[in-house]
């Protein structure tokens, strides 16, 4: 350890002391499982007793499993669609709400849009199951137009749109709030100057608001990129034998393999691959949006 750091630790020992619980938390709940998981992925599938190392055979097993390959595909479709939709729709919502003149209407809409984010996935799953049940609200509406009822939850073709819709419904309000905060931070005199300069509302959005949101957009994009391969909860609450092939994501695959089928090594290999994939997608996104540049 270099002298400067030691000196600083001495000087600010109280701050380092405060930092300790967090460090312990991450060591116990993040770094230890992470290292343990990597180790497991090279060991035989055993719950108790010694686990002999088996080289890369777990990885080979995972990569030759058609279920895993299908879950990669599902993950990419659901994750990337969610990423794009969250990003674009929340931005649109924030921009539209910003144009609402009545503060009461704006705040009410904002709160309603944000509300689902506070619900746990199981509640949301329940709500959606009710709405899209055979006798649910969705079919009621269809019935009004004399359309035959659809069994949304069991229709494989509708499985992905439903899961994606759930995610959008839950998260768009939250992300739009992040945009709204950034919009509010723009100095009001800029808009006044633009009015005097004869710029219409659309031009103001294009030339003042969107450039000012660049930083927030980048942060949200990276945040969403990190989550592309880690969709689990909404899948877990919606999955059933009819739609499993369509919406089984990587984490559900890991869960089924490791927790339900006790194949710890195979599951760990899958999890390690998810992490590698996340690293790649995040790095690619950062590069694409020039995250480190202004």
């Amino acid at each position: 350890m270099d002298k400067k750091l030691l000196g600083r630790m001495k000087k600010y020992k109280f701050l380092y002391f405060l930092f300790l619980p967090i460090a312990v938390y991450f060591a116990v709940f993040a770094y230890y499982p992470f290292i343990k998981g990597i180790l497991l992925s090279f060991q035989e599938n055993r719950l108790i007793g010694n686990r002999p190392f088996v080289g890369t055979s777990n990885y080979e097993a995972v990569l030759s499993d058609p279920d895993f390959l299908q879950s990669v595909k599902n993950s990419l479709i659901i994750g990337l669609t969610d990423m794009v939709l969250y990003f674009v729709l929340s931005l649109l919502l924030a921009l539209i709400l910003n144009e609402v003149f009545s503060a009461l209407l704006r705040k009410t809409t904002q709160t309603i849009a944000y509300l689902p984010y506070l619900f746990s996935w199981s509640v949301i799953g329940g709500v959606w199951a009710l709405v899209f049940d055979l006798r649910g609200m969705a079919n009621l509406v269809l019935g009004f137009f004399e359309i035959e009822p659809v069994f949304f939850l069991a229709e494989p073709a509708l499985a992905r749109p439903l899961v994606i819709g759930m995610g959008v419904w839950r998260s768009v309000g939250y992300f739009s709030l992040l945009y709204a905060v950034a919009i509010v931070a723009i100095g009001p005199s800029l808009f006044e100057a633009a009015r005097i300069d004869g710029a219409g509302r659309l031009k103001q959005i294009r030339k003042i608001i969107l450039p000012a949101l660049r930083g927030t957009m980048k942060t949200i994009a990276v945040f969403l990129a990190i989550g592309v391969l880690t969709h689990f909860d909404e899948i877990y609450v919606m999955v059933n034998p009819a739609n499993r092939q369509r919406i089984r994501t990587l984490l559900l695959y890991v869960y089924e393999t490791g927790i339900l089928n006790f194949k710890t090594g195979t599951a760990s290999a899958g999890a390690a691959l998810v992490m590698a994939g996340t690293l790649i997608i995040t790095a690619a996104t950062r590069r694409l949006i020039k995250y480190d540049k202004e």
Binding site: G187, E192, A193, A194, I196, D197, G198, K207, I208, A212
Partner: protein, 372 residues
């Protein structure tokens, strides 16, 4: 007909909570300004000067009254069509555009040809020495440079009215002087009516052809700087204009030419206190009209002479300010190069009789005549 005219303009802000009175930001504002004139609105914060400016710009709407620019009533005209330009206190430069784009932005929304736009930008930027900054972004500019860009943005529009909202308040003393010169030069070049808002009376006095002094939404006086200084219309203006401000001393009109105040008797010249005899008045005198006529016991008693020890002497180079207290009234005297008394000894201050101002104790209005 005046170039810029405000007739009975009134603006009230709705009260925030129940039971609170609605706040009149500007009340019955009347002003006529000619092309080429620089009018300064000055007053303490919250006096309504910025609101007035914003109403001229069209950013706020008056509740009552009319605003006309070049003979056309503009109450219902969009800011962009009023042919005005505004310089904001925080400059309001578009942060994601470079200097050139900032200058061009307003022009691109007009029907001007590309050549004309380019020409105007060239002209303005060479006038304000911005040529080397054209590719820079606002955050890479110093405060003074930003201010010049903001002025340039107004200049390229060649507006009929140029509105400036406290444009110097974020600059240091040196830059203020330079920018003041810039503003003066632009004013001469544009020949538009310029309305300049500031809370700084020094700025107002140095820049304005005419000054509008405001307090609590009401115009207190409109006059040129000299008149404002020499003949303030009421106690507020007297106390607001001038640094240090006019000494204001409460007293009683004893007879038609004498006022009793601070336990002394002051005689006035050329002022008839007739209607105020026996009533409360306020005696006003500028610090430079109080002379040191001696120290200690050197001079015998005379009317208009006060004896007091100095609380503090501020040496300012060519002048000194002597602060003293008489009967709990804090007063200030400005001397130019005269001998100061030994510390601890008392001064004899003489109040020049023909420079005394008398204000009505009830209304605060200045009494009649034209003192110089």
């Amino acid at each position: 007909m005046a170039y810029l005219e405000l007739r009975n303009v009134t603006k009230t802000y709705a009260s925030r909570s129940k039971g609170e009175k609605a706040l009149a930001a500007v009340r019955d504002f009347n002003l006529q300004a000619e092309a080429g004139e620089l009018v300064v609105l000055v007053g303490p914060s919250g006096c309504g000067k910025s609101t007035t400016l914003r109403m001229i710009a069209g950013l706020d709407e008056p509740d009552l009254g009319e605003i006309s620019i070049d003979g056309k009533i503009v109450n219902n005209v969009h800011p962009k069509d009023r042919d005005i330009a505004m310089v904001f206190q925080d400059y309001a430069l578009y942060p994601h555009m470079n200097v050139k784009e900032n200058l061009a932005f307003g022009l691109e929304n007009t029907r001007l040809s590309k050549g004309e736009i380019e020409k105007r930008i060239q002209e303005a930027s060479s006038f304000l020495e911005l040529l080397e900054l054209m590719d820079r972004f606002p955050k890479h500019l110093s405060g003074g440079e930003r201010q010049r860009v903001a002025l340039g943005r107004a200049l390229v529009r060649q507006p009929k009215a140029m509105l400036l909202d406290e444009p110097l308040s974020n600059l240091d003393a040196k830059l203020r002087v330079v920018t003041r010169k810039n503003i003066n030069a632009i004013h001469k070049k544009l020949e538009a009516v310029m309305v300049y808002v500031t809370h700084d009376q020094v700025e107002a006095m140095t820049l304005g052809d005419r000054i509008v002094v405001m307090d609590q939404g009401v115009i207190q006086q409109i006059a040129d700087p000299r008149t404002l200084y020499a003949e303030p219309t009421n106690v507020f203006v007297a106390g607001f204009i001038g640094t240090p401000p006019m000494n204001l001393i409460p007293g009683i009109a004893a007879d038609s030419s004498h006022i009793e105040a601070l336990g002394y008797r002051f005689s006035l010249e050329g002022e008839d206190l007739g209607p105020l005899i026996g009533k409360r008045v306020i005696l006003g005198i500028r610090p430079e009209h109080i002379n040191v006529v001696g120290c200690g016991d050197t001079v015998a008693y005379e009317p208009n002479i006060l004896r007091a020890a100095a609380d503090m002497v501020e040496f300012l180079g060519e002048q000194s300010l002597i602060h003293f207290t008489v009967n709990n009234a804090e007063l200030c005297c400005r001397t130019f190069g005269e001998e100061l008394c030994r510390s601890g000894s008392e001064y004899l201050f003489r109040f020049t009789p023909e420079k005394l101002h008398v204000f009505d104790g009830e209304t605060g209005r200045r009494l009649g005549g034209s003192h110089g």
